[in-house]
């Protein structure tokens, strides 16, 4: 099998908030949505070697070789001020790494005794469905790793064939619903949501949808109509699917979206009550 590589923006070796048990979380670079409240906007794009970050770096800790498409980072002089991330016109980062399936397997082996499983996240991880397929097959064929659970944290914005590629190897999916109406979805994410709605129903039908999450953005996705439609959608899903309401947090969002209002606890409770009135109990995170 030809060895595929993927751009990995980060690995968290112990997470207690990305599924049941202690999990290793692998974050993939690049996303096909552009949410206003994205906390990690530097994982949205890919580097085009424009050198803007290297020029802006106050400690000259970055150098870029355009021809070889290589980035050099001096970790000793770097002060982690994140200027490079702020100036990047591509919503990218000079820090993500190209890794092979074997590279990731080695990382997992190191901590296998301490985890229930792995969660892959992004960016949008399903853009790497082929790579994921190889990674998951390697895990399932590995005597020491095959019992690990595999969860995918996705925005759902891909075609059915991508789900089919990984479905057999995966324990479950955690998907976001940003809004029901395509227009509101476009306001929040820059893109429409037809594929996402299809994905939600498809994964539910296959019994693999573990969690559906709504990020509450005041004045955007809290109209009566939105709440009614999201409630209807969630009610049609299996009762096994965990339905979650997440508070939009402004921490780490881009400056141009500073106008967004983070909901207060009272607002969260109020919107939760509206879902309850519509006949749906959501968990709050």
């Amino acid at each position: 099998m030809r060895e595929l590589r993927a751009n990995i923006s980060g690995i968290i070796k112990s997470s207690v908030i990305d599924g049941p048990g202690n999990r290793m979380v692998i974050f993939f670079q690049a996303c096909n949505l552009n949410c206003m409240y994205c906390h990690n906007s530097h994982t949205i794009g890919l580097c085009n070697y424009c050198e803007i970050c290297a020029t802006a770096c106050p400690t000259q800790s970055l150098a870029i070789d355009k021809e070889k498409k290589q980035i050099f980072h001096n970790d000793v002089t770097c002060t982690h001020c994140d200027t490079c991330l702020k100036v990047c016109p591509e919503n990218s980062s000079p820090f993500y790494k190209s890794m092979s399936v074997n590279d990731l397997i080695s990382e997992i082996l190191e901590i296998k005794d301490f985890i229930s499983g792995i969660t892959v996240s992004g960016g949008e991880v399903m853009l790497q469905a082929k790579f994921l397929e190889q990674l998951f097959i390697s895990i399932r064929n590995h005597t020491e790793l095959k019992a690990l659970s595999i969860l995918i944290d996705s925005n759902g914005n891909v075609d059915q064939n991508r789900w089919e590629t990984v479905l057999d190897w995966v324990d479950g999916f955690m998907i976001d619903i940003k809004a029901y109406s395509p227009d509101i979805h476009k306001q929040i994410t820059g893109f429409s949501n037809e594929k996402i709605l299809k994905s939600i129903h498809y994964l539910n039908l296959k019994g693999k949808l573990k969690e559906l999450r709504l990020v509450f953005v005041p004045t955007y996705n809290d109209s009566d109509e939105e709440i009614k439609k999201i409630t209807d959608l969630m009610k049609r899903l299996s009762p096994e699917v965990k339905k979650v309401l997440i508070k939009m947090r402004k921490h780490g969002i881009r400056e141009k979206y500073n106008f967004l209002n983070e909901p207060s606890l009272d607002e969260m409770k109020a919107v939760l009550n509206r879902f309850e009135t519509a006949g749906l109990n959501l968990l709050i995170i």
């Binding site: 070796k13 112990s14 207690v16 908030i17 049941p20 048990g21 202690n22 999990r23 190191e110 901590i111 005794d113 301490f114 985890i115 229930s116």
Partner: protein, 513 residues
């Protein structure tokens, strides 16, 4: 004599002590009038300089430091001395144990071991309902906390899942008492995930139980074992005559020469001296005081001399390693650097060899050798880190932490502990803790203890204290002996920083007057 009179008067008039605490201190002063068991002048000097520390056991040992009565045998046979017949039902069993506990000697005056409570009581459950068991155990638990108010008093549960163990965990969460300290013996093959999860959720509330690697610990003992006081694993029906600990920081401070001469001269010299102190104290207890000929527990076979040994402890490994590394031109700290960690392992391996090569009298429980123990510290340890722990505030990420300490846990048949810290978010995902505990045991850890940040309970060294008790004590004294100990620890050792919890001991307080 004038000095003794003044010390006595000081105790009598100290408004922070209650009647029982005064009696305890007065006894310590009386004991201090006796000459220390015969050891070399050099060893006496090391004792007075606290290079070797006897943890305030007193100068004339008249009872073993750690006694683990064979409660099961006592329940079957009854106890003549206490005119107790074997119990026939649950109430009688609890009553029997409550009475017996108050007659078990220790250094602090309160029994350090209450037994594997679930195993002891299960035969008496009969047709009692869950609700009835819960109600009876609640009264029992309240009695233990109110009448044995010392945080070193320690109960065990497990490894099998059972109604008593579960009820105790429920009561712990409800009562939030400091006493008793609690250990769950965990065995992958015997303990259900459900029970372990209950235990983890209980730690979220009250910072206990500790989780012991049952299979690994049991393999070190001929018969049953118990976890007592602060992570000390010892044989049931016996215990440890004494615990003497070597201050590795002080011996590395005093060491003149290079790294190799530390191993060839300084370390063996002080280890042997510590063993001399252990031997002298044991002989005094057994031959001069004749404890095992005169105490009812020994006379009635509830404890046996052949089930005893002694404990060789140490503390300040981190400081010792750091200094030796620095003097060797490698200024890398223990816990964060592989070479420093390797040096730490080498020191521990070497000490273990020295301890194992010394035949001691009255240590039949461990084939004539002392149990090796990583001592978890007391309040006077200002500059020294407990046992072989990584200093508070310098711990690396949890996997590195476990991978650093796990390789030496196998050495400590007398017990060792490392404390891990979790953020409050883990409360939503207790299974994550189960994963980490199981991983730690796979890596060879003997004991797993963890805390949550900002808990009302603060673990000091191995025992617990409530934040509110600590505050109260500073203002007006406390019902628990160990709170003073904790108050001192808190002031001295940055334990606040560690998210820790608190408990009590009379070790320190006894020596103050």
């Amino acid at each position: 004599m004038e000095d003794i009179k003044n010390r006595v008067l000081e105790v009598l008039t100290d408004g922070n002590l209650d009647y029982k605490q005064k009696k305890h201190h007065l006894a310590y002063i009386a004991e201090s009038t006796q000459a220390y068991p015969k050891v070399s002048a050099e060893a006496m000097e090391a004792l007075s300089e606290k290079v070797i520390c006897d943890l305030f056991e007193g100068s004339a040992p008249y009872r073993p430091r750690y006694i683990l009565p064979d409660y099961k045998l006592a329940l079957i046979r009854g106890i003549k001395y206490l005119e107790l017949d074997p119990p026939t039902d649950f109430d009688e069993a609890i009553n029997f144990l409550s009475i017996l506990y108050s007659h078990v000697p220790s250094i602090t005056g309160y029994s350090v071991y209450l037994g594997s409570i679930d195993q002891l009581l299960l035969p008496y459950v009969g047709d009692l309902t869950e609700e009835a068991i819960y109600k009876k155990l609640k009264l029992f638990w309240r009695y233990i906390d109110r009448c044995l108010p010392d945080a070193f008093v320690h109960a065990n549960i497990g490894p099998e899942d059972n109604i008593i163990a579960r009820s105790i965990l429920k009561i712990e969460r409800e009562f939030k008492q400091v006493v008793p300290n609690l250990t769950l013996k965990y065995d992958t093959e015997k303990t259900s995930d459900d029970l372990l999860e209950e235990a983890v959720k209980t730690v979220f509330e009250v910072a206990k139980p500790h989780i012991a690697n049952h299979k690994m610990t049991a393999a070190d003992f001929k018969g049953n074992y118990g976890v007592v006081s602060c992570y000390n694993s010892l044989p049931e029906g016996g215990g440890s005559h004494t615990l003497i600990r070597l201050n590795l920081k002080k011996i590395s401070d005093a060491h003149k020469g290079n790294l190799e001469t530390f191993f060839s001269n300084t370390l063996p010299k002080y280890c042997l001296m510590t063993l001399d102190v252990i031997e002298a104290r044991m002989k005094y207890l057994v031959e001069t005081v004749k404890y095992f000929e005169t105490d009812f527990l020994a006379q009635e076979g509830i404890i046996k001399l052949e089930n005893f040994s002694a404990m060789f402890g140490f503390y300040g490994l981190a400081e010792c390693v750091n200094l030796l590394m620095k003097n060797n031109g490698q200024d890398y700290p223990y816990g964060q650097n592989d070479e420093a960690n390797q040096l730490g392992h080498r020191i521990l391996e070497e000490m273990k060899k020295l301890v194992d090569s010394r035949q001691l009298p009255y240590c039949e429980a461990n084939n004539g050798k002392a149990f090796f123990h990583s001592q978890s510290g007391i309040d006077i340890d200002i500059e020294e880190t407990a046992g072989a722990r990584i200093p508070i505030g310098e711990e690396p990420d949890i996997y590195s932490h476990i991978n650093t300490v796990a390789p030496h846990h196998h050495l400590f048949n007398g017990g060792i502990s490392d404390i891990f810290h979790f953020d409050e978010t883990i409360k939503r995902n207790p299974l994550a803790v189960l994963d980490i505990i199981k991983g730690a045991f796979k890596k060879g850890m003997r004991m797993f203890t963890f805390n949550l940040s900002d808990s009302e309970f603060i673990r000091i060294t191995g025992y617990l204290v409530r934040r509110s008790d600590l505050k109260e004590f500073r203002e007006e004294g406390s019902r628990y002996g160990s709170t003073l100990f904790a108050a001192n620890s808190m002031d001295n050792a940055d334990v606040d920083k560690r998210i820790a919890k608190r408990v009590n001991s009379h070790e320190r307080t006894a020596s103050q007057y």
